[in-house]
Symmetry: C2
Subunit: 336 residues, 2 copies
């Protein structure tokens, strides 16, 4: 397969994107290629001697760059030659089989929706992020693609994310929890109540009921479904808190056991590594007619490298085919 990487998107682009592409060689079969999209001269400069990469990396020149703060649709319209817009076009034309970007998330979602369309039967694409926990990975979906959710959208996130964690994390029969503010039926918004009923009645989800924020860390479900606004807030809250709590604990300890600073630092690093978004290699936009992996803006080369692994697993696990098998036959599904 041919895997496109938007080499200009992330906060550390193109250095980490290029390094990630080089490191991703380990995941590629003989006929796989990485297509690095961005300013050609700059990319070749970062890539170094062609002997090290020209057998598995191609450079595809794109003049423009979409910034993190730009309005997504406007940016795509005014910058047709941006690395992101070009990558999405290549995907639409079948010239790459997967897209990876650590750039502007909104622009990624917009580009994917415009160029790749939706899989048959899917109402709205959703971003599924795999969160590491002590009890194993939990996929949280949606974390920001869709801030105007209907019950059918949430139901489909449950179905699509189940297929995804099966394929990529090897979870056999993923338990799906619906995020609410209490386990009882009576609590939550009307969106939650209606979704709950849909999930209860649908054999395509292994629904375990409502869950709460704290349940993400308690091993009660493998997939947690929520609106994009809430999911995005959760994602960023976890990021801020991991940073904060670990910092505070290390400070306490260093004061208590000054002689052991090195060991304490190592333990801190071990925890940080466990929670490192780079290990999970980005989050797929589930439901689009192709493979689009969105990486954290601050991704380092490991984030990009692991996104290549995710793209490979996505293909091997036939995620899109299985989504279409389950959702493509449903009546009136394209209208909602």
């Amino acid at each position: 397969m041919r895997i496109g990487i938007d080499a200009m998107g992330g906060d550390r682009a193109p250095a980490e994107e290029v390094r990630g592409a080089l490191a991703a060689r380990q995941f590629l079969s003989d006929d796989d290629r990485i297509v690095l999209i961005g300013k050609g001269d700059l990319l070749r400069e970062h890539l170094g001697s062609p002997g090290a990469w020209s057998d598995f990396i191609e450079v595809c020149h794109a003049d423009q760059v979409i910034g993190m703060g730009e309005a997504p649709v406007e940016a795509l319209r005014t910058k047709p030659n941006s690395s992101l817009a070009l990558m999405a076009r290549l995907a639409a034309e079948g010239k790459v089989d997967a897209c990876i970007s650590a750039g502007n998330t909104g622009a990624c979602v917009a580009a994917a929706q415009m160029r790749l369309r939706r899989l048959r039967g899917v109402h709205r694409p959703g971003i599924a992020i795999v969160t590491p926990t002590f009890y194993g990975p939990v996929a949280l979906c949606d974390v920001g693609a869709n801030v105007n959710c209907r019950p059918q959208h949430l139901l489909q996130y449950g179905i699509m994310a189940s297929i995804y964690v099966q394929a990529v994390c090897g979870v056999a029969n993923p338990r799906v929890g619906l995020l609410s503010i209490g386990e009882e039926d009576v609590k939550g918004t009307s969106l939650v109540k209606q979704t709950r009923q849909l999930m209860k009645d649908d054999p395509a989800v292994h629904f375990i009921g409502n869950v709460e924020g704290r349940d993400l860390f308690r091993g009660v479900c493998d997939v947690m479904v929520c609106e994009g606004f809430v999911g995005n807030v959760m994602l960023k809250l976890m990021e801020g808190m991991a940073e904060g709590v670990v910092k505070a604990l290390l400070a306490e300890l260093s004061a208590g056991i000054p002689s052991q600073e090195r060991i304490i630092q190592k333990a801190g690093d071990a925890i940080a590594a466990k929670y490192d978004y780079n290990v999970y290699g980005g989050a797929p936009l589930l439901g689009v007619g192709g493979i689009f992996i969105i990486c954290h803006g601050a991704s380092n080369y490991r984030g990009i490298m692991n996104a290549v692994r995710v793209a490979k697993d996505f293909t091997t696990g036939r995620v899109n085919e299985r989504i279409t098998e389950l959702l493509g036959q449903r009546e009136g599904s394209q209208d909602a």
Copy 2:
């Protein structure tokens, strides 16, 4: 003042409620009284010899108890003699000046709204919880009273929570952030966009713009405003995560420095104490015509004791008077 405590509400009731009432003596003036509401015989048994408490605690008998899982309005209707329903009635009759409960949150909100009504000009009451961070306390409002927010509701949460953190945390000119999923104007739901405009135009809030989940730990604002559903999810996510990350880090460390387990445990306890909801003594339901402090269901005696302190500060700081001064004069405010 007379401070009512629902002695039957929390997970550890009545033992911790009684112990908290006894420990709260330190915060009381000579003419302050605590009114413990619940099963009279049981409470007297826990209180022990009257010599130790009869000068500042009164026991008020209530037959029934509302459970954590009960539907709020239904429970209040069918259990008029529950400790919670009785406490709210006493408040409505002016027989207690403040209410404290670690019981069913939904039932607390419903009881307060039914019996205490709203302050003049307030659209919807909201629960404000003070979150400890490295940069000082941040009040998050609403965390669960209102899951159907309008822009005016969120604006008022910003105003009311500002008054509250001024009075209780001593923050001079609280900076208010509006929770969204990006700092830019274009991101977020239509609720966020409309609220943003209202806040920009209102001199009663010191509005600093949109903030994200991670900003809770970055010292950028003193008040963070959001819908009740999102706020409640955040609250519970933080609880679950603090538990989880600290546990994992301690495990790493204990393996690395087996000889120092006691010191490591101590550091863990110090962090846990910093994040302990019991220190903050519960969250006020802002905007009701009285004082209603809702404590965490798992509160221990310190949670109850500190809720008494919060009730005192609330009165001393003239929180309700100042809310009425700011909101009571606004046109058409009662209708929305």
